[in-house]
Symmetry: C2
Subunit: 265 residues, 2 copies
Protein backbone atom coordinates (compact mmCIF):
# COMPACT_ATOMS: atom_id res chain seq x y z
CA UNK A 1 0.00 0.00 0.00
CA UNK A 2 1.54 3.26 -1.14
CA UNK A 3 0.66 6.19 1.13
CA UNK A 4 1.43 9.79 0.22
CA UNK A 5 1.33 13.29 1.63
CA UNK A 6 0.82 16.12 -0.83
CA UNK A 7 2.68 19.25 0.22
CA UNK A 8 1.28 22.27 -1.64
CA UNK A 9 0.90 26.03 -1.30
CA UNK A 10 -2.71 27.21 -1.54
CA UNK A 11 -3.38 30.95 -1.90
CA UNK A 12 -6.02 32.66 0.17
CA UNK A 13 -9.01 33.96 -1.83
CA UNK A 14 -7.76 32.33 -5.04
CA UNK A 15 -10.19 29.45 -5.34
CA UNK A 16 -9.57 28.68 -9.01
CA UNK A 17 -5.82 28.77 -8.64
CA UNK A 18 -6.07 26.41 -5.66
CA UNK A 19 -8.24 24.04 -7.67
CA UNK A 20 -5.51 23.89 -10.32
CA UNK A 21 -2.84 23.29 -7.66
CA UNK A 22 -4.96 20.42 -6.33
CA UNK A 23 -5.43 19.01 -9.85
CA UNK A 24 -1.68 19.12 -10.37
CA UNK A 25 -0.81 17.30 -7.16
CA UNK A 26 -3.52 14.70 -7.82
CA UNK A 27 -2.02 14.12 -11.24
CA UNK A 28 1.45 13.73 -9.74
CA UNK A 29 0.03 11.26 -7.19
CA UNK A 30 -1.55 9.21 -9.97
CA UNK A 31 1.74 9.12 -11.87
CA UNK A 32 3.55 7.52 -8.93
CA UNK A 33 0.67 5.12 -8.26
CA UNK A 34 -0.39 6.33 -4.85
CA UNK A 35 -3.11 4.30 -3.14
CA UNK A 36 -3.84 6.64 -0.24
CA UNK A 37 -3.28 10.38 -0.34
CA UNK A 38 -3.55 13.17 2.24
CA UNK A 39 -3.74 16.82 1.24
CA UNK A 40 -3.36 19.79 3.63
CA UNK A 41 -6.02 21.53 5.70
CA UNK A 42 -8.17 24.10 3.84
CA UNK A 43 -6.45 23.33 0.55
CA UNK A 44 -9.31 24.79 -1.48
CA UNK A 45 -9.29 28.15 0.32
CA UNK A 46 -5.96 29.09 1.84
CA UNK A 47 -5.80 29.92 5.52
CA UNK A 48 -5.22 33.54 6.61
CA UNK A 49 -8.64 35.06 5.91
CA UNK A 50 -9.39 38.74 6.42
CA UNK A 51 -13.15 38.65 6.22
CA UNK A 52 -16.11 36.33 6.34
CA UNK A 53 -16.82 37.15 2.70
CA UNK A 54 -13.42 35.79 1.78
CA UNK A 55 -14.11 32.50 3.55
CA UNK A 56 -17.57 32.24 2.00
CA UNK A 57 -16.16 32.83 -1.47
CA UNK A 58 -13.88 29.78 -1.18
CA UNK A 59 -16.25 27.52 0.76
CA UNK A 60 -17.95 24.62 -0.97
CA UNK A 61 -20.43 21.88 -0.22
CA UNK A 62 -19.17 18.34 0.19
CA UNK A 63 -19.44 16.32 -2.02
CA UNK A 64 -21.04 18.72 -4.54
CA UNK A 65 -18.19 21.27 -4.69
CA UNK A 66 -15.55 21.39 -7.39
CA UNK A 67 -12.73 20.21 -5.12
CA UNK A 68 -14.82 17.26 -3.98
CA UNK A 69 -15.53 16.36 -7.59
CA UNK A 70 -11.81 16.36 -8.40
CA UNK A 71 -11.10 14.18 -5.38
CA UNK A 72 -13.93 11.80 -6.18
CA UNK A 73 -12.62 11.41 -9.67
CA UNK A 74 -9.09 10.73 -8.45
CA UNK A 75 -10.29 8.17 -5.91
CA UNK A 76 -11.74 5.79 -8.53
CA UNK A 77 -10.08 2.41 -9.10
CA UNK A 78 -9.48 1.63 -5.44
CA UNK A 79 -7.79 4.81 -4.31
CA UNK A 80 -8.54 6.77 -1.11
CA UNK A 81 -7.94 10.45 -0.37
CA UNK A 82 -8.49 12.80 2.56
CA UNK A 83 -8.23 16.55 2.00
CA UNK A 84 -8.86 19.62 4.11
CA UNK A 85 -11.84 21.55 2.73
CA UNK A 86 -13.33 24.91 3.63
CA UNK A 87 -16.87 23.59 3.84
CA UNK A 88 -20.25 25.29 3.56
CA UNK A 89 -23.16 23.56 5.29
CA UNK A 90 -26.71 24.65 6.10
CA UNK A 91 -25.57 25.58 9.62
CA UNK A 92 -22.51 27.57 8.56
CA UNK A 93 -18.85 27.11 7.67
CA UNK A 94 -16.59 24.30 8.87
CA UNK A 95 -12.89 23.53 8.74
CA UNK A 96 -13.38 19.99 7.46
CA UNK A 97 -11.56 16.96 6.16
CA UNK A 98 -13.42 15.07 3.48
CA UNK A 99 -12.71 11.42 2.70
CA UNK A 100 -13.27 9.83 -0.70
CA UNK A 101 -12.62 6.30 -1.94
CA UNK A 102 -13.60 4.30 -5.01
CA UNK A 103 -15.23 7.37 -6.49
CA UNK A 104 -17.51 7.80 -3.46
CA UNK A 105 -17.78 10.19 -0.52
CA UNK A 106 -16.93 8.20 2.63
CA UNK A 107 -17.57 10.98 5.13
CA UNK A 108 -16.55 14.37 6.47
CA UNK A 109 -14.80 15.20 9.72
CA UNK A 110 -15.39 18.70 11.08
CA UNK A 111 -12.51 19.95 13.20
CA UNK A 112 -13.28 19.83 16.93
CA UNK A 113 -10.31 21.89 18.20
CA UNK A 114 -10.17 25.23 16.40
CA UNK A 115 -6.90 27.18 16.36
CA UNK A 116 -6.65 30.94 16.89
CA UNK A 117 -8.80 32.95 14.45
CA UNK A 118 -10.42 29.87 12.97
CA UNK A 119 -13.06 30.57 15.63
CA UNK A 120 -14.00 33.75 13.78
CA UNK A 121 -14.97 31.88 10.63
CA UNK A 122 -15.78 28.29 11.48
CA UNK A 123 -18.25 26.43 13.63
CA UNK A 124 -16.58 23.76 15.69
CA UNK A 125 -17.39 20.16 14.91
CA UNK A 126 -19.31 18.21 17.52
CA UNK A 127 -18.61 14.61 16.57
CA UNK A 128 -15.96 12.13 17.54
CA UNK A 129 -13.18 11.86 14.92
CA UNK A 130 -13.97 9.15 12.36
CA UNK A 131 -12.36 5.96 11.12
CA UNK A 132 -13.24 4.81 7.60
CA UNK A 133 -12.92 1.25 6.40
CA UNK A 134 -11.83 0.83 2.78
CA UNK A 135 -10.62 -2.42 1.20
CA UNK A 136 -9.93 -3.88 4.66
CA UNK A 137 -7.80 -0.89 5.61
CA UNK A 138 -8.89 1.52 8.33
CA UNK A 139 -8.17 5.22 8.04
CA UNK A 140 -8.50 7.62 10.96
CA UNK A 141 -8.82 11.35 10.33
CA UNK A 142 -7.87 14.38 12.37
CA UNK A 143 -7.01 17.96 11.39
CA UNK A 144 -3.92 20.03 12.23
CA UNK A 145 -4.25 21.37 15.83
CA UNK A 146 -6.00 18.16 16.91
CA UNK A 147 -2.39 16.91 17.29
CA UNK A 148 -2.08 18.87 20.55
CA UNK A 149 -4.86 16.81 22.12
CA UNK A 150 -3.54 13.29 22.63
CA UNK A 151 -7.14 12.26 23.21
CA UNK A 152 -7.82 12.45 19.46
CA UNK A 153 -5.12 10.06 18.23
CA UNK A 154 -5.97 7.74 21.11
CA UNK A 155 -9.64 7.69 20.14
CA UNK A 156 -8.69 6.89 16.55
CA UNK A 157 -6.50 4.01 17.75
CA UNK A 158 -9.30 2.71 19.99
CA UNK A 159 -11.55 2.80 16.91
CA UNK A 160 -8.96 0.58 15.24
CA UNK A 161 -7.52 3.04 12.77
CA UNK A 162 -4.27 1.71 11.30
CA UNK A 163 -3.09 5.10 10.08
CA UNK A 164 -4.00 8.68 10.96
CA UNK A 165 -4.51 10.85 7.88
CA UNK A 166 -3.79 14.37 9.09
CA UNK A 167 -4.38 17.41 6.86
CA UNK A 168 -2.54 20.36 8.40
CA UNK A 169 -1.65 24.02 8.10
CA UNK A 170 1.05 24.09 10.75
CA UNK A 171 2.80 27.22 11.88
CA UNK A 172 4.24 26.18 15.26
CA UNK A 173 7.29 23.88 15.20
CA UNK A 174 6.01 21.23 17.62
CA UNK A 175 3.62 19.00 15.75
CA UNK A 176 5.92 16.92 13.61
CA UNK A 177 7.84 15.60 16.62
CA UNK A 178 4.62 15.12 18.57
CA UNK A 179 3.27 12.91 15.78
CA UNK A 180 6.25 10.61 16.36
CA UNK A 181 5.03 10.26 19.94
CA UNK A 182 1.45 9.70 18.72
CA UNK A 183 2.72 6.82 16.57
CA UNK A 184 4.60 5.22 19.42
CA UNK A 185 1.96 5.57 22.11
CA UNK A 186 -0.73 4.17 19.79
CA UNK A 187 1.40 1.81 17.65
CA UNK A 188 -0.13 3.47 14.61
CA UNK A 189 1.03 4.98 11.31
CA UNK A 190 0.54 8.71 10.76
CA UNK A 191 0.60 10.84 7.61
CA UNK A 192 0.72 14.60 8.17
CA UNK A 193 0.28 16.67 4.99
CA UNK A 194 1.28 20.25 5.71
CA UNK A 195 1.20 23.29 3.44
CA UNK A 196 4.04 25.66 2.60
CA UNK A 197 4.39 29.35 1.87
CA UNK A 198 3.73 32.62 3.65
CA UNK A 199 0.25 34.13 3.70
CA UNK A 200 -0.22 37.68 5.05
CA UNK A 201 2.85 37.30 7.24
CA UNK A 202 2.08 33.79 8.49
CA UNK A 203 4.65 31.20 7.42
CA UNK A 204 3.72 27.53 7.28
CA UNK A 205 6.27 24.92 8.21
CA UNK A 206 6.00 22.25 5.50
CA UNK A 207 7.96 19.20 6.71
CA UNK A 208 5.11 16.87 5.83
CA UNK A 209 5.85 13.40 7.08
CA UNK A 210 4.81 9.78 7.34
CA UNK A 211 5.68 7.80 10.49
CA UNK A 212 5.50 4.08 11.14
CA UNK A 213 4.12 2.29 14.20
CA UNK A 214 7.41 2.71 16.06
CA UNK A 215 7.61 6.42 15.35
CA UNK A 216 10.21 6.07 12.62
CA UNK A 217 9.91 8.75 9.95
CA UNK A 218 9.48 7.01 6.60
CA UNK A 219 9.19 10.33 4.79
CA UNK A 220 10.11 13.84 5.83
CA UNK A 221 9.74 16.60 3.28
CA UNK A 222 11.59 19.92 3.47
CA UNK A 223 10.25 23.22 4.76
CA UNK A 224 9.33 24.42 1.28
CA UNK A 225 9.30 21.28 -0.89
CA UNK A 226 6.35 20.92 -3.21
CA UNK A 227 4.63 17.78 -4.36
CA UNK A 228 4.29 14.22 -3.23
CA UNK A 229 6.16 12.40 -0.47
CA UNK A 230 5.34 8.71 -0.27
CA UNK A 231 6.14 5.44 1.42
CA UNK A 232 5.08 1.84 0.95
CA UNK A 233 3.60 0.67 4.22
CA UNK A 234 2.07 -2.49 5.60
CA UNK A 235 -0.89 -1.13 7.52
CA UNK A 236 -1.60 -4.47 9.18
CA UNK A 237 1.43 -3.82 11.41
CA UNK A 238 -0.84 -1.42 13.30
CA UNK A 239 -3.31 -4.18 14.14
CA UNK A 240 -1.00 -5.53 16.82
CA UNK A 241 -0.55 -3.13 19.71
CA UNK A 242 2.16 -5.27 21.26
CA UNK A 243 5.04 -3.22 22.67
CA UNK A 244 6.78 -6.05 24.50
CA UNK A 245 5.95 -9.72 24.89
CA UNK A 246 3.75 -8.70 27.81
CA UNK A 247 2.65 -5.15 27.03
CA UNK A 248 0.03 -3.76 24.71
CA UNK A 249 -0.52 -0.05 24.02
CA UNK A 250 -4.28 -0.33 24.30
CA UNK A 251 -4.99 -3.37 26.48
CA UNK A 252 -2.67 -2.06 29.22
CA UNK A 253 -4.74 1.10 29.53
CA UNK A 254 -6.69 1.59 32.78
CA UNK A 255 -9.90 3.25 31.56
CA UNK A 256 -11.48 2.97 35.00
CA UNK A 257 -8.78 5.30 36.32
CA UNK A 258 -9.13 7.83 33.49
CA UNK A 259 -12.58 9.19 34.33
CA UNK A 260 -11.21 12.69 34.95
CA UNK A 261 -10.54 12.95 31.20
CA UNK A 262 -14.24 13.10 30.37
CA UNK A 263 -15.33 15.46 33.13
CA UNK A 264 -16.27 19.03 32.33
CA UNK A 265 -14.48 21.57 34.52
CA UNK B 1 13.02 26.84 42.73
CA UNK B 2 15.86 24.45 41.99
CA UNK B 3 14.67 21.11 40.61
CA UNK B 4 16.96 18.12 40.19
CA UNK B 5 17.04 14.63 38.80
CA UNK B 6 19.38 12.16 40.49
CA UNK B 7 20.84 9.69 38.01
CA UNK B 8 22.23 6.66 39.84
CA UNK B 9 22.99 2.97 39.36
CA UNK B 10 21.25 0.74 41.89
CA UNK B 11 22.29 -2.93 42.11
CA UNK B 12 19.71 -5.69 42.28
CA UNK B 13 19.66 -7.60 45.58
CA UNK B 14 22.18 -5.20 47.17
CA UNK B 15 19.90 -3.26 49.47
CA UNK B 16 22.62 -1.84 51.72
CA UNK B 17 24.77 -0.75 48.81
CA UNK B 18 21.75 0.96 47.23
CA UNK B 19 21.02 2.76 50.49
CA UNK B 20 24.56 4.14 50.45
CA UNK B 21 24.19 5.21 46.80
CA UNK B 22 20.98 7.02 47.76
CA UNK B 23 22.68 8.67 50.75
CA UNK B 24 25.48 9.88 48.47
CA UNK B 25 23.17 11.41 45.88
CA UNK B 26 21.07 13.06 48.62
CA UNK B 27 24.24 14.56 50.01
CA UNK B 28 25.26 15.86 46.59
CA UNK B 29 21.77 17.35 46.16
CA UNK B 30 22.05 19.13 49.48
CA UNK B 31 25.44 20.55 48.51
CA UNK B 32 23.98 22.23 45.41
CA UNK B 33 20.91 23.44 47.31
CA UNK B 34 18.25 21.47 45.49
CA UNK B 35 14.65 22.25 46.49
CA UNK B 36 12.92 19.42 44.66
CA UNK B 37 14.56 16.11 43.82
CA UNK B 38 13.50 13.06 41.83
CA UNK B 39 15.28 9.72 42.15
CA UNK B 40 14.79 6.74 39.79
CA UNK B 41 12.24 3.94 39.98
CA UNK B 42 13.01 1.11 42.42
CA UNK B 43 16.14 2.84 43.60
CA UNK B 44 16.25 0.82 46.82
CA UNK B 45 16.08 -2.56 45.11
CA UNK B 46 17.43 -2.56 41.57
CA UNK B 47 15.21 -3.82 38.77
CA UNK B 48 15.99 -7.15 37.10
CA UNK B 49 14.82 -9.59 39.77
CA UNK B 50 15.18 -13.35 39.43
CA UNK B 51 12.90 -14.45 42.23
CA UNK B 52 10.19 -13.26 44.54
CA UNK B 53 12.57 -13.78 47.46
CA UNK B 54 14.92 -11.26 45.90
CA UNK B 55 12.17 -8.64 45.61
CA UNK B 56 10.99 -9.34 49.17
CA UNK B 57 14.51 -8.93 50.51
CA UNK B 58 14.76 -5.37 49.13
CA UNK B 59 11.17 -4.29 49.76
CA UNK B 60 10.37 -1.90 52.58
CA UNK B 61 7.38 -0.24 54.19
CA UNK B 62 6.74 3.42 53.49
CA UNK B 63 7.46 5.54 55.51
CA UNK B 64 8.98 3.13 58.05
CA UNK B 65 11.73 1.70 55.82
CA UNK B 66 15.35 2.81 55.82
CA UNK B 67 15.14 4.52 52.41
CA UNK B 68 12.06 6.44 53.49
CA UNK B 69 13.87 7.56 56.64
CA UNK B 70 16.79 8.88 54.60
CA UNK B 71 14.41 10.73 52.28
CA UNK B 72 12.39 12.16 55.18
CA UNK B 73 15.54 13.42 56.75
CA UNK B 74 16.72 15.04 53.52
CA UNK B 75 13.33 16.70 52.94
CA UNK B 76 13.47 18.81 56.13
CA UNK B 77 13.82 22.59 55.82
CA UNK B 78 11.37 22.98 52.95
CA UNK B 79 12.67 20.40 50.52
CA UNK B 80 10.60 17.89 48.55
CA UNK B 81 11.64 14.54 47.11
CA UNK B 82 10.02 11.75 45.12
CA UNK B 83 11.81 8.41 44.80
CA UNK B 84 10.93 5.04 43.35
CA UNK B 85 10.63 2.44 46.12
CA UNK B 86 10.16 -1.30 46.07
CA UNK B 87 7.34 -1.25 48.62
CA UNK B 88 5.94 -3.90 50.93
CA UNK B 89 2.32 -3.46 52.01
CA UNK B 90 -0.13 -5.75 53.79
CA UNK B 91 -1.57 -6.74 50.41
CA UNK B 92 1.73 -7.45 48.71
CA UNK B 93 4.53 -5.71 46.83
CA UNK B 94 4.22 -2.53 44.80
CA UNK B 95 6.40 -0.58 42.41
CA UNK B 96 5.84 2.74 44.14
CA UNK B 97 6.91 6.36 44.18
CA UNK B 98 7.00 7.89 47.63
CA UNK B 99 6.80 11.65 48.18
CA UNK B 100 8.34 13.43 51.17
CA UNK B 101 8.44 17.11 52.08
CA UNK B 102 9.33 19.09 55.18
CA UNK B 103 10.34 15.90 56.93
CA UNK B 104 6.92 14.32 56.36
CA UNK B 105 5.45 11.60 54.16
CA UNK B 106 3.13 13.28 51.64
CA UNK B 107 1.87 10.13 49.96
CA UNK B 108 2.69 7.11 47.83
CA UNK B 109 1.77 6.44 44.23
CA UNK B 110 1.58 2.79 43.19
CA UNK B 111 2.33 2.26 39.52
CA UNK B 112 -0.82 1.60 37.47
CA UNK B 113 0.83 0.47 34.20
CA UNK B 114 3.27 -2.36 34.90
CA UNK B 115 6.01 -3.13 32.36
CA UNK B 116 7.02 -6.63 31.28
CA UNK B 117 8.03 -8.85 34.21
CA UNK B 118 7.04 -6.31 36.82
CA UNK B 119 3.73 -8.19 36.72
CA UNK B 120 5.47 -11.23 38.23
CA UNK B 121 6.45 -9.35 41.37
CA UNK B 122 4.19 -6.37 41.86
CA UNK B 123 0.49 -5.72 42.35
CA UNK B 124 -0.75 -2.96 40.10
CA UNK B 125 -1.90 0.25 41.73
CA UNK B 126 -5.58 1.07 41.52
CA UNK B 127 -5.64 4.79 42.22
CA UNK B 128 -5.45 7.85 40.00
CA UNK B 129 -1.94 9.36 39.93
CA UNK B 130 -1.52 12.01 42.65
CA UNK B 131 -0.67 15.68 42.83
CA UNK B 132 0.87 16.97 46.05
CA UNK B 133 0.77 20.58 47.17
CA UNK B 134 3.84 21.83 48.99
CA UNK B 135 4.68 25.49 49.69
CA UNK B 136 2.20 26.58 47.00
CA UNK B 137 3.86 24.34 44.42
CA UNK B 138 2.05 21.36 42.96
CA UNK B 139 3.91 18.18 42.14
CA UNK B 140 2.43 15.40 40.00
CA UNK B 141 3.89 11.91 40.14
CA UNK B 142 4.04 9.09 37.63
CA UNK B 143 6.45 6.17 37.20
CA UNK B 144 8.46 5.13 34.15
CA UNK B 145 6.17 3.26 31.68
CA UNK B 146 3.26 5.53 32.61
CA UNK B 147 4.87 7.83 29.99
CA UNK B 148 3.41 5.64 27.22
CA UNK B 149 -0.12 6.45 28.36
CA UNK B 150 -0.80 10.11 27.57
CA UNK B 151 -3.81 9.82 29.84
CA UNK B 152 -1.54 9.93 32.89
CA UNK B 153 0.25 13.22 32.21
CA UNK B 154 -3.07 14.71 31.11
CA UNK B 155 -4.72 13.69 34.37
CA UNK B 156 -1.86 15.26 36.33
CA UNK B 157 -2.26 18.50 34.36
CA UNK B 158 -6.02 18.48 34.94
CA UNK B 159 -5.26 18.10 38.66
CA UNK B 160 -3.16 21.25 38.32
CA UNK B 161 0.29 19.77 38.69
CA UNK B 162 2.95 22.26 37.61
CA UNK B 163 5.65 19.64 37.16
CA UNK B 164 5.61 15.89 36.68
CA UNK B 165 8.16 14.12 38.88
CA UNK B 166 8.92 10.91 37.03
CA UNK B 167 11.09 8.18 38.59
CA UNK B 168 12.15 5.79 35.82
CA UNK B 169 14.11 2.70 34.89
CA UNK B 170 13.98 3.14 31.13
CA UNK B 171 15.32 0.62 28.67
CA UNK B 172 13.53 1.60 25.45
CA UNK B 173 14.74 4.75 23.67
CA UNK B 174 11.37 6.48 23.24
CA UNK B 175 10.44 8.05 26.53
CA UNK B 176 12.72 11.04 26.70
CA UNK B 177 11.39 12.49 23.44
CA UNK B 178 7.83 11.62 24.42
CA UNK B 179 8.22 13.63 27.62
CA UNK B 180 8.93 16.67 25.45
CA UNK B 181 5.52 16.09 23.84
CA UNK B 182 3.95 15.63 27.30
CA UNK B 183 5.33 19.05 28.31
CA UNK B 184 3.98 20.75 25.21
CA UNK B 185 0.54 19.18 25.15
CA UNK B 186 0.01 19.93 28.86
CA UNK B 187 2.10 23.11 29.19
CA UNK B 188 3.82 21.51 32.14
CA UNK B 189 7.34 20.92 33.42
CA UNK B 190 8.65 17.36 33.62
CA UNK B 191 11.60 15.84 35.48
CA UNK B 192 12.50 12.28 34.49
CA UNK B 193 15.12 10.64 36.72
CA UNK B 194 16.41 7.52 35.02
CA UNK B 195 18.94 4.97 36.23
CA UNK B 196 22.10 3.78 34.49
CA UNK B 197 24.05 0.56 34.24
CA UNK B 198 23.43 -2.98 33.02
CA UNK B 199 21.69 -5.53 35.21
CA UNK B 200 21.59 -9.20 34.10
CA UNK B 201 21.90 -8.15 30.48
CA UNK B 202 19.38 -5.28 30.64
CA UNK B 203 20.90 -1.88 29.93
CA UNK B 204 19.23 1.27 31.20
CA UNK B 205 19.32 4.42 29.12
CA UNK B 206 20.20 7.22 31.56
CA UNK B 207 19.61 10.54 29.78
CA UNK B 208 17.66 11.92 32.72
CA UNK B 209 16.12 15.23 31.80
CA UNK B 210 14.10 18.24 32.87
CA UNK B 211 11.79 19.92 30.34
CA UNK B 212 10.01 23.26 30.54
CA UNK B 213 6.40 24.06 29.62
CA UNK B 214 7.32 24.46 25.96
CA UNK B 215 9.16 21.17 25.79
CA UNK B 216 12.61 22.72 25.91
CA UNK B 217 15.15 20.47 27.60
CA UNK B 218 16.68 22.44 30.47
CA UNK B 219 18.86 19.50 31.48
CA UNK B 220 19.84 16.38 29.62
CA UNK B 221 22.29 14.02 31.28
CA UNK B 222 24.40 11.50 29.38
CA UNK B 223 23.72 7.79 28.95
CA UNK B 224 25.98 6.86 31.86
CA UNK B 225 26.46 10.09 33.84
CA UNK B 226 26.13 9.79 37.59
CA UNK B 227 24.83 12.33 40.05
CA UNK B 228 22.65 15.40 39.99
CA UNK B 229 21.29 17.32 37.00
CA UNK B 230 19.44 20.47 37.93
CA UNK B 231 17.70 23.58 36.65
CA UNK B 232 16.18 26.66 38.23
CA UNK B 233 12.56 26.81 37.17
CA UNK B 234 9.59 29.07 37.72
CA UNK B 235 6.82 26.56 38.27
CA UNK B 236 4.11 29.24 38.06
CA UNK B 237 4.67 29.28 34.30
CA UNK B 238 2.70 26.04 34.24
CA UNK B 239 -0.36 27.71 35.78
CA UNK B 240 -1.21 29.33 32.47
CA UNK B 241 -2.19 26.83 29.80
CA UNK B 242 -2.24 29.48 27.12
CA UNK B 243 -0.74 28.30 23.83
CA UNK B 244 -1.84 31.27 21.72
CA UNK B 245 -3.86 34.38 22.56
CA UNK B 246 -6.98 32.30 21.91
CA UNK B 247 -5.95 28.74 22.73
CA UNK B 248 -5.54 26.91 25.99
CA UNK B 249 -4.19 23.36 26.34
CA UNK B 250 -6.85 22.37 28.82
CA UNK B 251 -9.84 24.65 28.23
CA UNK B 252 -9.85 23.81 24.51
CA UNK B 253 -10.35 20.15 25.30
CA UNK B 254 -13.71 18.60 24.33
CA UNK B 255 -14.33 16.17 27.20
CA UNK B 256 -17.85 15.43 25.95
CA UNK B 257 -16.30 13.94 22.80
CA UNK B 258 -13.72 11.86 24.68
CA UNK B 259 -16.04 9.35 26.32
CA UNK B 260 -14.49 6.43 24.45
CA UNK B 261 -11.34 6.93 26.55
CA UNK B 262 -13.04 5.72 29.71
CA UNK B 263 -14.91 2.75 28.22
CA UNK B 264 -13.79 -0.78 28.95
CA UNK B 265 -13.33 -2.91 25.85
Amino acid sequence: MRVAVGQIEPHVSEYKRNLQIIRDVLSEAKDVEIDVLVLPELCNSGYVFESREEVEASAESIPEGQTSRELISWSRDGRFVVAGICERTKEGLHNSAAAFGDGKHFGTYRKIHLFLNERDWFLQGNEEPPVYEHNENRFGVMICFDWAFPEVARILALKQAQIILHPSNLVLPYCQDAMVTRSIENHIFTATANRTGTERGVTFSGSSQITDVNGKRLVRMGLSDSGIGWADVELKLADSKSITARNDSLRDRRPGLYTRLTQDD
